[in-house]
Structures are given as C-alpha cells and as structure tokens.
Symmetry: C2
Subunit: 491 residues, 2 copies
C-alpha cells in the first residue's frame, strides 16, 4: 500500500510547479484540487470501483486531471489513440467493456460515430476547461491508499502488426517503472520533463505519473511541433524530453547546427530501433540522447542506455532497469552473447496480462517471463541491441533479413529521407525484401542508384528486390513504421 | 521479487566506484567478487536460509562485504554495537538466537567474553582482509532474486531507555527507504555518500544498501574523525554525509569559518532533535543541513526536511518520505496542527515487528500504525517537529516538561558546550527537572548564572531545580544522550 500519489505529493510539496500547458501553470496543490473536483463530478455517475473509463482526448490539462481523478475513485483508465478510425475505437471500447467514454470537442465526431451501437456505454463530452463548470457539492471520502496490485490502466498496445491487445498495468507496474527510470537517469530538484508524445501512449502517460511521484514539473505540448519543442528546451528549462526518432530528426532539422543548452540533460529516444545516422548526428552535435527499449506491457522503459554509455554504446538500448530482468531466448533456452533471439523480460513493471484474454496472456507469459516477440541480442558486456519485431522478420532463402537493418542502410543514402522494408512473396526464395523510399525534397535518385548503394553495403540476400519511390510512409501516432500497411499496398 | 541488488548493480555498472575505505577502492565488480568469495567461505559452515548471523565488527570493507555475502546466502544480518559490554552482547546474541558470530581482532576480547556460555553459537574471527585468504573451491548457485518480504536484518534498537528490542527489517523495508530518500534528496550521477556513523546502526547500514541500489560511491570511515570528514568533503567529492548533532558540532568547530565546497549538497542530520543554535550556525555558514527523524523500526529515515525548506523550517524534521504516512496521536485520535502527541508511522518501510516477541510488537503496532513513543507535533503546513522521547517526558505539577526544550535553552548559553536534562523525584511536584551541564573549556559559569538564564527564557515549572556542572555527558555510539544513565547518577 502507498498513499494516493497526487495527494501525498501535494502534502509534501504543494507549491512546486506540477504542470505547464501553454499559459496554464498548475502547482501540485492546483492539480490536486482539479483532480478532486473532477472526481466529485464523476462520482455522481454511479460507477463502481474497477469500472473502466475510456478517454478520447487531445493532450492537455483535462487529460492530466482525469488520470488522477480516476485513480481517486478506483476507476481504471483506458486511454484511446485519437488517431484511430471510429471502427477501431469501437472495437477497443467493446473489448475493454468500458462503462464511460470521456471525449473532447476535437474528438466528438469520432466518439459519436464509434459508439452508436454500444448502448451500455455512457458518453461524457468534456468541456475543454472543466474547472469552469460550477463545482459539485457531493462529498468524496478523503483520498485513500493505493494497493500496488490494483489495476491502474488498460492500455491497447500500438503494435504495428495484428490486432491490438489490452494490456493491464497495475499501480505497482507504474511505480516500479518510475523507480527504475530514476535509478538510471537520476533525479534532480530542477527536473522538468517535456511530454510532446501523445499522453494516450505509455511513454506519455509514464511522464505524468513520474511527475507526481518525483515531484517534478511536466510540460505538456498539445501536439508535436519541432520548433515549439526546441523553444521549450531553450527557454523553459526542460531537462528531459521523451521522443521517437522521427520527432528527433525534425527537431534537429529545425534547429540547424545550434547546440542545445546544458540544462537539457537527457533526450529519451524510444519507439523502436533508432537509425544509426541519427544517433551519430546527435553525438556530433552533443545532444544527450539515450536510446530506450520500451513496451506497453512493461509500463514503458524496459532497458535504457545509461547516459555515461551514450557514446561508447551507440545504437544500443542499454541495460535493463534496476528492478527488471532481461534475457535473450533462442529455442526456449538462454542465448549466448551476440546470438540473436527473442527478448524476454521479467520483473515488477511487467503487466499481469491482457484484460479478459487469458489465452493471449498465456501465449506470452511463461514462468513469469514476458515474451516480447521482439528480436535482439546482448553484446559481451550485456548491452541490448534491438533488431526488429519478429513479426516483421523476412526469411529469404533460409536467411533472416531484419527490415530495420536494410532501412538503416537506405536512410544513410544522402538522397533518402525515410525508408521502409517489408517481405514480399517470391517463388524462388520464399520471401524477398521490398523497399519503400521517400526521397529528400529536390533531390534526384533512381531505384537503380539505391539498389547499387545497398549492394555495396549488404549481403546479397538482404538487398531489396524492389525499390519503390513514394511520397510518404505510413507511421502511427508514436512514429512507428506500419509495415503491415506497406505490405498491403503490394497486394 | 527483485534481482539480487549487488549482482544487478554489478551487471548494470560494473566499473563504477562502489566503496572507498582509506586506500581501498572497489568497483561494483570488485565488491561483487568479494561478496561472492565471502559467501563461498560461509557456505561451508552448514547454515540454513533464515539463520541469523551476528557481526561484531569495526567499520570497514569486511563489514560491507559481509552485508552482501549474507544476503546471497539468505542469512539474516544481526549487526551488534561494538560499544556494548560483553553482558549486553551476550544478551542480544541469546535473544536473537544467533547461529554464528563474526568478529574482528579489535572486538575479539568482547566476543569471547560474551559467548563463553552460548555453546550453540559458532564463532568466526575474521581476518581484517579476508580476500587475502585462499579462495575456496566450493561452488555457489548463482545469485537469485530477493523477495521483498524476506528478512534482511535483525537490528537491536539503540533506544536510550529500557531493554533493547530486536527489530526485523525486510528487503522491502530497506528498498522502500532507499526509494523514499531518493525521492526527497534526489539522485545525482556523481553522488558520493560518506558513512562516518557506525555501520551497525541503521543510519550507517542504510548508506551501504542505498549505495548498491543507487549505484553511487560509499566512502566509509573506520571511526568518526571531524578533521578526516572535513578533508573528505574538501578533497574526495563527498556530496552527502549522514551525521548526528555532536558530530556536526565537532566538524564545524574543527573547520572554523571556512565554507564547505558546493559539491557537498546534503548533510543529513539525524539521531534526535537538533539544538537550534547548531542549525542556526549551519544556516549562517551555508552548510546544506537537513534534519531527519529516523527510527531503526522504519529502516532509517521516516521524515526528512526537503533541502528547499532547510532555512524556512529550521528545527523541523520535515515531512514523511513519499511512501510513508505519519500522524500525531493524542489519546488514540489524530491530533490537530500544533497539538503535541505521539508520532505514529505507517508504510512499507515499517518493520514487521520485533523478532520472537509478538507481545512487544503488539504493544507498538495497531492497525498497521507503528507507535514510536516519540513526542512531536505537525505545524499548520504539516511539518514535523520532534520534541522528545515520551519515556523521557518529565511531568511536574501536572505540567509537561520536555527535556529537549530545556536543553536547547541551556545550550544557547555562550558558556555551555553540552547539556542534558532529566526528571528527579520531588515531594511537592512529583518530578522536577535536573540539568547536567558541560561548560566550554576555559569559561567560567556558575549554577546560579544558568538558572537565572533559564528563568528569563522558560516557564517557571520548566526551569531546572538542580544544575550540575559535569565534565562530559553519557552518549551512545550514535551520539544520542543517555538520559537513563544521567538519572541513575542522581540516585
């Protein structure tokens, strides 16, 4: 049992700045008051402890307030991706057995379209500034303790393949994740963490929860804007920021050669293996980037490169968080150093399972080890290198082709802006790699150029048989490449 | 379950400096190797998981090594106070049902005298540098996970009154204490924590455990020497140091007016309420002191003043650690702000109880709240002020007299070096306060001077009826005033 996090944080440091969204500046006392009022409003809706409440909300103060208000009522947070189609939203609401959907005006059309045939579900349109509504008079019992085993979140994984699965995350999962992150990245009194990722993904949500546990300031951007992020780093004392590769690329492009101020102590880079040229550009320009390997099912970070190793182990996602055990499995046994296998994870950040889908849980959880489906290896010193999603693996003539490896080569071509590689059926080899390439604006490049560029850098079987120049690549809200969509384009 | 702390720390950051004792510098890899070898040696002694192993050791590398070696074998650490008489050592060994006593040459006489009639107990004289012994060939299973509910330590409280009681501390108690401390004091990559307190007290032991959990360097001094502490702060990059009031007084006296370097970010001051004049001297001289209120039964810190409040709340022990709940009880109910009552504590740092003494546990543990026996109050903002041990409370004519308050007044007299106050029986008032005063060297002061000084500053009933000038006051190893010994001097 732990005291209610926001309540305890407010007791300890009421006047510290908790949240900045645009011109809004809330202390922990303000945030606590907002969450209390929101909880009072929600308490009139006849919900029961453990009921699931979905949010279809833009990044902003209401999202943050609701995260804590739901905790106070013992309700389970179900953050929905605002970029889903109504059919996808509907499926998640149905699968989650959500009792209430809270949405904002921006997402109203989607919310209504998604729910017309879910009569059990209540809808609540949230005014953008709910604290302007008259406070309700209902009295709530004072905040109680949190059981670490209780469910905090039901979060659908943004996997790039297959059906989304609803991972349960306990208070303990989030707490241990926050502890593990602090033990790696440190805790400074002046820390300010910028959330420019969607709050509906685990990477964004974790920033909010760490904020109240650590007592640091969280700056939330309503959407990702590279110039605004650079400005916040320059002018608002941002010390940590979480990004994915595409965001970081845009930040660097927007900034030019100007260095970041020394107050920026960590750029946490998640969302899949990072292109090596991006990491090298950061190293050249003194950007304190540390790569992380995270999973929704492990409450965000699983392994993160320690800042002290950022240069020496470029390309690695580092070592597991202190409370976490990580190993590589190959045919059920632990792989040796350098051997590629499936990344498996155990520890107190790992989900108790997928909600209401014991068979899906049983598929991935064996002896307490969560089987991620991701491929990687540990080097001689135990540093993790993530190769790819197993589901994306291309097997060509019995040889394994990891799309990320081929993409990294293509991206290192001076004319290439972005690249995605998938397997396509082939009579002779089973599968062969096919590449989709976005050329830099105003630069001429041919398919033949790119093939010969790859020829010089990759084993024969890894060179794409097909190279398609396209105007853009499909990526999801957190910047992950949707290889499945690419593959479908080929059918 | 968590991975073995030292093993995981060594996997994560093998080359970081773990321990400095004089000229000895051990990385985490070195410390892990030492602990492994020590565990191999101990594994030949036919001990079973859960067996209690007492240490009667001077501060140093062998103590540190043994702490981790015992964990690896699932043995319970019983650190004994090296300043105890043989009769006291014998009583604790008997009460703890210790199976093994490990001692060093310095403590050999005491160890042997204490154990001559405990035939079930094995003795092991530890060579001062056990790693010079030939390593044994026995093979240990690899380090396993720690259950947070397992017992790590059995620690006799150094209470200044009554019989010592053996408090059980779990791995979880220590872990949560480390987390709570980090959430208050922060975690910096360059942290070096100086342990000049005895390692057999919870305050010293906690530094060792935080060291492996945080991955920071611990510098151990074999004994307290104010000049050596000041030198380590100046020359060895000490960022945090744990002290009690008498140590800090000696450090300041030794140093004169020279300021501490900015690398020193926190002087954690425990061991009972601090004299106000000492805190004021620190404030004047820019010493970053933060007062803490700690208990053996809560794995060290319970409440600690946040560094940002150090000046504004001088004299306060701050607010509880993040995982800890604290309140003041008065006649079984929660006291209001400003009301003095008993300090009670709940949370994951609190002991599961006293070993093998369920009745002693039941006396202090009610509804999960640990009743400390200490008196204090919370101000309007929730900051804790510790007044005194209830056992030391003097009741005179129905009025409460808190010895610490009278002592603080006496210590603020320019001629007074130290002061202790106890109650003595009195026919008319029941009890009256009696003071023992150590005058500053070379300064003349009379009993009448001191009484009239108190008269001007304290309610009549608080003024000591007797003032005795003495050459020194009895204090225990951690600097706590032994009022019981003072009172016995009066009989």
């Amino acid at each position: 049992m732990l005291p209610d996090w926001l309540h305890q944080r407010t007791s300890l440091t009421p006047d510290r700045l908790a949240l900045v969204v645009g011109d809004l500046h809330w202390s922990f006392r303000d945030l606590d008051q907002q969450a209390t009022e929101m909880a009072q409003r929600l308490s009139t809706l006849s919900l029961s402890i453990g009921d699931r409440v979905a949010l279809l909300l833009w990044n902003g103060a209401p999202f943050v307030t609701l995260v804590h208000a739901l905790s106070r009522l013992g309700l389970v947070l179900v953050p929905l991706n605002t970029r889903l189609t109504p059919a996808e939203v509907r499926w998640q609401l149905f699968d989650a057995r959500a009792r209430l959907l809270i949405y904002d005006e921006v997402n109203a059309q989607s919310a209504i379209a998604a729910t017309h045939d879910l009569p059990e579900l209540r809808l609540l349109l949230l005014d953008r500034w709910p604290h302007h509504l008259p406070p309700l008079t209902s009295h709530l019992p004072p905040p109680t303790s949190f059981s670490l085993a209780a469910i905090h979140t039901l979060l659908y994984t943004s996997g790039t393949t297959g059906y989304p699965k609803g991972a349960l995350l306990t208070y303990g999962n989030h707490w241990w994740s926050a502890m593990g992150s602090a033990l790696n990245l440190g805790l400074h009194a002046d820390d300010r963490w910028l959330a420019c990722l969607p709050l509906f993904h685990v990477g964004g949500l974790a920033i909010l929860l760490r904020g109240v546990i650590y007592g640091n300031t969280v700056i939330v951007h309503e959407t990702f804007d590279s110039a605004a992020v650079n400005q916040a780093i320059d002018e608002e004392g941002v010390t940590l920021v979480s990004v994915v590769s595409t965001m970081l690329q845009r930040m660097l492009a927007e900034r030019g050669e100007r260095r970041y101020p020394p107050t920026l102590r960590c750029v946490l880079l998640g969302g899949g293996p990072a292109p090596r040229d991006l990491l090298e550009a950061c190293a050249r320009r003194g950007v304190p980037v540390v790569q992380t390997y995270g999973l929704t099912e492990a409450a965000s970070q699983v392994a993160t490169l320690a800042p002290e190793d950022a240069l020496r182990k470029l390309g690695s996602a580092g070592k597991p968080l202190f409370p976490t055990e990580l190993r590589i499995e190959r045919e059920g046994a632990e792989a040796s150093a350098g051997e590629v296998g499936e990344i498996v994870v155990r520890g107190p950040t790992v989900t108790p399972g997928y909600a209401d889908h014991p068979e899906a849980t049983a598929q991935v959880m064996r002896d307490g080890w969560f089987h991620t489906g991701d491929l990687g290896y540990l080097d001689e010193e135990g540093y993790l290198y993530v190769l790819d999603r197993r589901d994306d693996l291309i097997i060509s003539g019995g040889e394994n082709v990891y799309p990320a490896e081929v993409e990294a080569v293509l991206r290192s071509h001076p004319a290439v802006e972005d690249a995605g590689v998938v397997g396509v059926p082939d009579e002779r080899w089973g599968q062969v790699p096919a590449a989709f390439v976005v050329a830099r604006a105003g630069v001429e490049v041919t398919e033949a150029d790119l093939k010969s560029f790859c020829d010089a850098r990759l084993a024969r079987y890894k060179v794409p048989t097909y190279v398609n120049l396209v105007p853009s690549l499909p990526r999801n809200a957190s910047g992950k490449l949707l290889r499945r969509v690419l593959a479908e384009n080929l059918k």
